[in-house]
Symmetry: D2
Subunit: 109 residues, 4 copies
């Protein structure tokens, strides 16, 4: 079994044991991702780029991944597939010869 | 090769071809996750739970995953491992007999 | 003295007494707004529209306002002015006859 | 009339002309604040502290303020009052003698 499938299976087992599927509608899962993203961001607040506490980053990142995997599952999306699809789109928006070495948004390239 | 490894390899190939590693410090990657999470959230704004445009959800979710994988890689974290570790922690915070069927935070169980 | 001026003066007094201006660059203030916005959002997570704890909403909203006023001050912006300017822009994007009773984004009107 | 009152009155006039009160429940207003906060944050992404476009900061900040004022109004909150109340709470969490010159969270002072 590939590991994204395994991750989703375990998350669903955890959720179903607690009967939480009733709360996990797509909108609230999107909220949850934002809440966890905010907690991740707090670890960097008023700090230099590399000063966040790695152990806490690990936990917040795990929470973001968990809700993102659960939302992907709600829509029946294959995580590897959607990332690869998006890279193809981005490859057109950000062709190497234009985008190399610049952080500009594609609308300003 | 398992697919989380494959995803990270492809993301890094894409990034390095554009020489973007110089911008991808941990703090800005955390920012990027928040920016994309906000774009995901917008798809549900003023809407009922299931009314978001699936095609757009797919794209925003892909962006969140991409930056989350890149941040995990920055810290040398194994994505499956950190999710499974967090589930173990959460299993203690949210024991089945207490948490079943309630959306309350563990501090209020 | 009008009350937005009074708010900013008090916030700056509070900040300067703690010598925090050194941390309050525009980027980190924008981060702080996001962190506090995430904490506000958490109060609504898995809940119906009106089920958040009002006392907590009050506190998170105060934090968002505080950092928003401090960021406005950094850029020398007059809060009433920028809101009224934005309403003028939005009045063009969302003319009453098109926007009435619909939550659609202006790009879809 | 003080200017926070004036701001809220104008925002409500704008909203009511478009019959948008039906969409402006507290939860979606909290979402809207997060969406706008994410757009503000994007202006600083991959950039140094002061490199954001001031004109765009002005607009995103106006949006955050607008939804924050509307949410305060939903709960009948006086904006100046809640900010001053929060400063009093924070003055206890962050006494000058402990907090001066440090960005540490109160839990770590």
């Amino acid at each position: 079994m590939n590991d994204t499938t395994e991750i989703i299976q375990e998350l669903i087992k955890f959720r179903n044991a607690r009967d939480w599927d009733q709360f996990h509608n797509p909108k609230d899962l999107a909220l949850a991702i934002n809440v966890e993203a905010g907690e991740l961001l707090e670890l960097f607040l008023w700090k230099n780029h590399d000063e966040a506490d790695k152990e806490k980053v690990k936990e917040e990142l795990a929470d973001i991944f968990a809700f993102a995997f659960l939302l992907a599952d709600k829509y029946g999306l294959d995580v590897k597939q959607i990332i690869f699809d998006k890279m193809r789109t981005n490859a057109e928006k950000y062709p190497v010869e234009k985008a190399k070495g610049t952080a500009a948004k594609y609308t300003e390239l």
